[in-house]
Symmetry: C2
């Protein structure tokens, strides 16, 4: 069977109404609310066809129709109108992101906040994955007799450090030498590779004292690297779902929140997703737990490189057009913010 123009129109109307009301929509209501120029009976026939084609489902015999995942997919792929943001939304985004220039994590966190506020859904934002980053230099700074600060800087300017207890006595000179030596060995290597190589001090160690110092420092070095590679996932609007009728069943709400409660697992799932604006609808999600959720993620860039993800999660019934538009605008803004930050800071 073909998807006639009229069928498409009806389907779009159903989706539009259902997304708004969360109630199965019947032929009568449809003909009343939308000016389709055909009678409920005709609509019923078309609906019946659409159901057969898999675009609609029927909660039970005497209920209206509900769009299926397939319908939403069609909608997202071809029916969905591109929605312009309201000036107010634009302002909100721009203003609030501007506020915390130079505080990376904070900015990301706020992005999630904004997103959940505008969409009324649950949102999340991930700090950049640093798998592509390379080591720029290592520094070791004396603090006191048995404390040293280890500092690792990556090519993107990401810094991480730890204060370490040092067991062996050290001289400032040795420290500097060791730092230089480590920098020399690892400079330009990917952080992940350095970490993976599980190094047993494969940098020059001609001096005995330095060798012992290196032994002392290595575990902390690895740990610091590891920490540096960690991504943070910020969530916001967790309680927004309580406003959605699909989660008025407490058990549904619990399951939803449980899904997000296991942050590590969730983070992993987000990381694995492709770059760019990705929409996965209901059953399209591999995870069973998400089979009646839709997940939209987008990628933002720092200095032009694709790195972090931001997204929303909610019921399959969501305002795809609006949300993707918002996310597009938001990521654009993030990209700019993160370009500005390292670029023309003088404009301030």
């Amino acid at each position: 069977m073909e998807l006639s123009e009229r069928k498409l129109k009806i389907l779009q109307a159903i989706i539009s109404d259902y997304v708004r009301s969360a109630e199965p929509v019947g032929s009568r209501t449809l003909s009343r609310k939308f000016d389709l120029g055909i009678s409920p009976a005709t609509i019923r026939n078309e609906m019946s066809d659409l159901e057969e084609m898999g675009y609609l489902t029927h909660p039970h015999t005497s209920a209206g129709r509900v769009p299926s995942d397939k319908a939403y997919r069609l909608y997202v792929n071809s029916l969905m109108p591109k929605q312009e943001l309201t000036p107010q939304e634009k302002r909100t985004i721009a203003d609030r992101l501007q506020a915390d220039i130079n505080e990376f994590d904070r900015t990301i966190q706020h992005a999630a906040q904004i997103l959940s506020e505008i969409t009324n859904l649950t949102s999340f934002a991930m700090t950049p994955t640093k798998t592509e980053e390379t080591l720029k230099f290592v520094n070791l700074l004396p603090v006191d007799k048995n404390t040293v600060v280890l500092m690792i800087v990556s090519d993107s300017g990401e810094i991480s450090n730890t204060a370490m207890r040092i067991k062996v006595p050290y001289t400032e000179e040795n420290l500097q030498l060791l730092a230089k030596s480590m920098t020399y060995t690892y400079r330009g290597k990917k952080l992940t590779d350095v970490l993976k190589s599980h190094i047993q001090k494969n940098f020059e160690t001609d001096i005995e004292a330095m060798s012992r110092l290196a032994d002392d420092i290595l575990p902390d070095f690895m740990k610091t690297l590891e920490e540096m590679l960690n991504v943070q996932l910020y969530m916001d609007g967790l309680t927004n779902i309580f406003d959605l009728p699909e989660y008025s069943d407490i058990d549904k709400a619990r399951k939803f929140l449980a899904l997000l409660d296991k942050k590590e697992d969730f983070t992993k799932k987000i990381i694995e997703r492709d770059d760019g604006m990705i929409v996965t609808i209901g059953g399209e999600n591999a995870d069973d737990m998400m089979n009646d959720c839709s997940l939209i993620t987008a990628t933002y860039c720092v200095d032009g490189k694709m790195v972090g993800k931001i997204g929303v999660i909610g019921p399959t019934r969501m305002r795809y057009g609006e949300i993707t538009s918002i996310m597009e605008y938001l990521t654009e803004n993030l990209n700019n913010t993160f370009k500005l930050e390292s670029g023309e800071k003088d404009s301030e």
Copy 2:
């Protein structure tokens, strides 16, 4: 009216039963389950007295009795038995805290995790408040032509840093001089005071170039300080409340989660609480939102100084004895962990 021995016994029995079952407890049930040696009728009389005295309430005429806040208060103050942890619990705590020595935030986060797992309640843990910390030194490290790393170290070894864009050209020498100068000015001062003093460069600036450098750096310096002073609040077991009958009403659950969703506000409330093990029950909480919650917080120490808080929040009906014991043990362990960390790391 006096609280006779018998009344106490009955009250304790009621609390014990109610805490377990969440069902109003009646005289009949009580006499069956507890060997009080008196008939239901007598119990009824005593209950009636206890109600008059404010220790019990009555959801409705034909329901059993429920302990009031006052009853729990009495229980916590004098009736509550000290509960020994199971060896398994002890092992869990010790093991899981041991795992991440040297990763402060991680440890705190895990402490919250453990706490929620053992208590089946919602838990939280706050990183140390650094209001008492003093500045130890400031360092400025050249990265490239227009990037400099600013690093602030506090007396406790806490480090914070930012990579900054520098507008004016600088020499390594100037940087070092400036860092020394800043260190000299602020060393030993409390971080908060340095931040509050809202300094307009009140350290020596005889050299013109350095002065401009300082202007460039100060905003970031303040921001970094601010960031350093921030406390993090980690939460865990948010969804645990769904297992509690008091939150089977979706609206209650929503309110509870909304309370915790406003993290900043909640953090503020926690910070304000006194040190040590503090239990506030229902109406004792100033915040209306918490009027049917109990909140237990405890303080942990780093190097012997009271600094961070950890706690649980749940319905007033909670196993106070068990939970406070767990928290005592947990904070003890934290204290040790954080002493070890900077002390006898050689034992590894």
